[in-house]
Amino acid sequence: MFTEFFYELRSQGVPVSVNEWYTLLEALERGLAGSSLTGFYYLCRSVLVKSEVYYDKFDLAFARFFEGVETPEDLPEKIWEWLARELPDDHTIRMMGELKQYELDMLKKMLAERLARQNEEHHGGNYWVGTGGTSPFGHSGYHPGGIRLGGESRNHSAVKVAAQRRFAAFRDDATLDTRQFQMALRKLRQFTTRLEGPRTELDVEATIEATGNNAGRLKLIWNRPRQNAIKVLLLMDSGGSMLAYTRLCNQLFTAVNRSSHFKDLKIYYFHNCIYDWLYPDPACRQSESLKTLHVLNNLDSDYRVILVGDASMAPSELLRPGGIIDWGLNNEEPGLAWLQRIKQHFEHCVWLNPIPANYWQWMEGAYTIKLIGEVFPMYELTLNGLEKAVKKLKGRNS
């Protein structure tokens, strides 16, 4: 009966599956929605929607589908006038008791009937159409599951809740799939040999053998567990041109940060290109800067380096001494020299670029993209690109 609602939801982009739909039908059969539209709304939402990101889309679909309830078309002009009047004291609202719940169709029919019979304004009270009061018709009154005609909702009781779209802020059109990034990063692992670390794992095979050799007296053999030996250095561009890609970069950052399987993870920031300094946070404050050389000297060459940046800058920033974009700073060596130094220090480096690869040829920064691409293998910052980059990082000789 509501099947169209299912398709309405899907067309709004709420990922509803048939399973969940069956669950909803089962719930309706058991009468879990009560007989009010409000109850139905909350039931639908809790069964069908699985992330607050989709609450807004759900609200939209719901409001659209049940819109007939919201604004009856043929409402006489006069009714609107009555409803636009001042509200009476809302003491009636506090006196609300057990109110009858009506089915939607019933409500509509009753509304038509009552409008036909009503011939004066009515505010307060529990029967006629008007403001305040507990009649199922009108606004600012209290009647769970009643029809609200314009005006403000005071008690949040009618379908209006959906139309308020309180969850608009959570909306995020391209799905926040950090999970996929995480799954990709997960492949970045290389197990330790069993030569280092404490022996904490029971080796069952060896224990049986040793116990056997020991004439049946138990002898426990412990082993070193194999752990991921991969250490990661993440260098992120936080310059102005990167603003457009903040969300994408945040996703990557979150994914890397949550990947608990790395042996070590270091994150530094730079502004457009790397020169003498690196920064521990995206604000790139000079007062907190670290010498790039210091960082390089302190990190072994087996760190896997992931550079993230759009690689688009003025050629002078990359090629000329003193080309640094920040005021008051000077670089004696061009940015490219620094990049090459990083490449020499670390065995495995990749550059992830949030700009889609098919734009690299003719973007404004095409020239520097090409130059940097010659130093580091460059991949676009997509799931696919990340997977390729991870493969590259694992490779023996990159």
């Binding site: 669950t23 879990l32 909350y42 607050e52 926040l176 799939d177 950090t178």
Partner: protein, 286 residues
């Protein structure tokens, strides 16, 4: 199967919104796990306790850590103890079931009465963790190969799962849950919540605190917004400190209770200077 709906209405120490009550009751009636998400400090974990209290059932808490494996929730076979006993102990090692220790989920299954099972912060665990529990939560049973025994739930436990959205949960898992997102309470509901915790709080103090609190929350350059639990701590501090309501808006005493990060404190004062010129904090100078 006869189901009684509308079992849960919140409890004496926990104010649940109408929507939340609805979700809880739907989850109970359908026998599906209830997945709760929401900002930290909106009382996700408290909810399970409250359901247990309201329905008079025992609460079993399974705290998830980053190292927790799904298997641990079902049972653990203590092989080392058995090996050890076979050598030195006088226990009967032929009885394997002595060495099978049920986990929290197993405990909930074998309980004589229906229990409330809280799986707290499921997103802390490994990415695959929720998938490993799909069958057990669906069928409410699991098989122990060592003893050739099937543990079947006597009464379907009421399962409440909380998540801080640190990791995305797999779709297959989500499909089987009833989902509810706890919104941050608005000022009216917040008053109710505070009244539950501080029944005799002075009205003026409360108003002033809430005004300041929601003002701080409305600042958009904060990294971590203060939450309900921080507000309650703050009120506690203010009451104990005997602070006059007048002073709260002006100097925000015990600010450290509300804001935990240095940058946030800086951001707050930056806002104070800019938006409330003339009402500069008296104790802050640098």
């Amino acid at each position: 199967m006869k189901t009684t709906f509308n079992q849960f209405y919140g409890s004496a120490t926990y104010i649940a919104s109408q929507e939340l009550q609805n979700s809880v009751n739907v989850a109970i009636a359908l026998g599906k796990p209830l997945l709760i998400k929401g900002e930290p400090g909106t009382g996700k974990t408290m909810l399970a306790q409250s359901i247990a209290d309201a329905l008079g059932k025992r609460l079993i808490v399974w705290n998830i850590k980053s190292t927790t494996k799904a298997q641990e929730g079902l049972y653990v076979y203590d092989t080392v103890q058995r090996l050890y006993d076979s050598q030195f102990g006088d226990n009967d090692v032929s009885d394997i079931s002595r060495y099978i220790k049920l986990g929290k989920l197993g405990e909930a299954f074998v309980s004589e009465d229906q229990v409330v099972l809280l799986i707290d912060e499921i997103d802390k665990a490994d990415l695959e963790f929720p998938n490993d529990l799909l069958w057990e939560l669906d069928q409410m049973s699991f098989y122990i190969p060592e003893t050739k025994q099937t543990i079947q739930a006597k009464h379907r436990p009421i399962v409440v799962i909380t998540s801080n959205a640190e990791k995305e949960l797999p779709d297959a898992f989500l499909r089987r849950c009833i989902f509810h997102y706890i919104e941050f309470p608005d000022a009216e509901r917040m008053k109710e919540i505070i009244r539950v915790h501080f029944p005799s709080l002075e009205r003026k103090l409360l108003e002033q605190c809430l005004e300041t609190f929601y003002w701080i929350r409305s600042l958009d350059n904060l990294q971590k917004k203060p939450s309900t639990s921080e507000l309650l701590d703050w009120l506690q501090a203010l009451v104990l400190g005997g602070i006059h309501p007048q002073r709260i808006g002006e100097e925000i005493p015990f600010l450290g209770v509300l804001l935990k990060k240095n940058q946030d404190v800086d951001a707050l004062f930056w806002n104070l200077k800019n938006s409330r010129s003339g009402r500069k904090p008296s104790f802050y100078s640098r």
